[in-house]
């Protein structure tokens, strides 16, 4: 029986961002940009979508005179990610 894949996570960039954030405590915008290779505009849009869903927490602050946007995954995001991986396994016939 196939489980439904969460449409919010079933996109390359959003899934990439979530995979980064699940591996670290927190990461800033520049780190995400480097790891994904995506454009600033595209990342901003996807971060907003993930934040609106309550999957990530975005904090804007300062380091010296420069702004820094730090993102971290929320417990809701972690649960959604785990559920998504479980659903993927059912499609690929991987037994946990």
């Amino acid at each position: 029986m196939f489980k439904e894949l969460n449409p919010l996570l079933h996109s390359e960039l959003r899934l990439g961002i979530m995979s980064i954030l699940i591996s670290v405590v927190e990461a800033d915008f520049l780190f995400i940009k480097e790891k994904t290779g995506a454009t600033v505009g595209n990342i901003s849009v996807q971060l907003e979508k993930l934040s609106a869903a309550g999957y990530i927490q975005v904090e804007k602050g300062f380091i010296g005179k420069r702004t820094r946007t730090v993102c971290k995954i929320t417990p809701k995001g972690t649960a959604a990610f785990a559920e998504y991986v479980e659903a993927l396994k059912s499609y690929l016939d991987i037994k946990s």
């Binding site: 996109s11 390359e12 990439g16 591996s23 405590v25 990461a27 780190f31 790891k35 995506a38």
Partner: protein, 194 residues
């Protein structure tokens, strides 16, 4: 990377690739806290030694407080990366170890303020040696573990020496367990990021 829909196999490959990619190449600048606190402790201990020898005034020991004060200030000013930044779970573990041991060191220093027979230098060497060793064990890097163990073992030496000589032991020990590991970590980080 774009906002395109992936098939199931591509999704799993992407997750695996991103997690792997995030776990590596995060070593650059890891030695910074070791170097900041190490060099400050090194310089302060030399200053305390010189003052004790030249003036024989025990108030010179008040200079020790410059280590947490200047260390905290320098960490705030230079310890945070202005470049891309990510905090791993290993970073958090190391920060916790140093925060707990640092707090104990400050509390012990307060206690020693009222009890002059307290083996202050030994205890400081023991505590910072333990923190260095744990850091090496957490990041699984043998040279740091060795420096930490050497530092920890030096805690017995102050019992064999008196007065200002104990300060010199601290100077050498702090160089071994803080400054050397700091440079090793930064070198390792630079090599990993080439």
């Amino acid at each position: 990377m774009e906002d395109k829909i992936l098939n199931e196999k591509e999704s799993l490959e992407l997750i695996s690739k991103m997690i792997q990619n995030t776990q590596t190449k995060l070593e650059s600048g890891k030695g910074k806290p070791f170097l900041i606190f190490g060099y400050i402790a090194f310089i302060v201990s030399i200053a305390v030694y010189v003052l004790l020898v030249t003036t024989n005034n025990q108030y010179a020991n008040l200079l020790w407080w410059a280590i947490p004060l200047l260390g905290g200030l320098f960490m705030y000013k230079f310890g945070r990366s202005k470049d891309k930044y990510a905090k791993t779970y290993i970073d958090r573990m190391i920060n916790t170890v140093w925060a707990v041991i640092g707090t104990v060191m400050i509390l012990v220093s307060f206690f020693a303020f009222f009890n002059h027979s307290f083996p202050m230098v030994s205890l400081m060497l023991l505590l910072s040696g333990i923190a260095s060793t744990l850091t090496g064990l957490i990041i699984k890097y043998v040279p740091i573990v060795i420096c930490g163990i050497i530092g920890t073992l030096t805690c017995v030496l102050p019992f064999l020496f008196y007065g200002s000589e104990q300060v010199l032991i601290y100077t050498v020990a702090v160089f071994v367990m803080m400054v050397i590991p700091g440079h090793i970590l930064n070198y390792k980080g630079r090599k990993a990021n080439v």
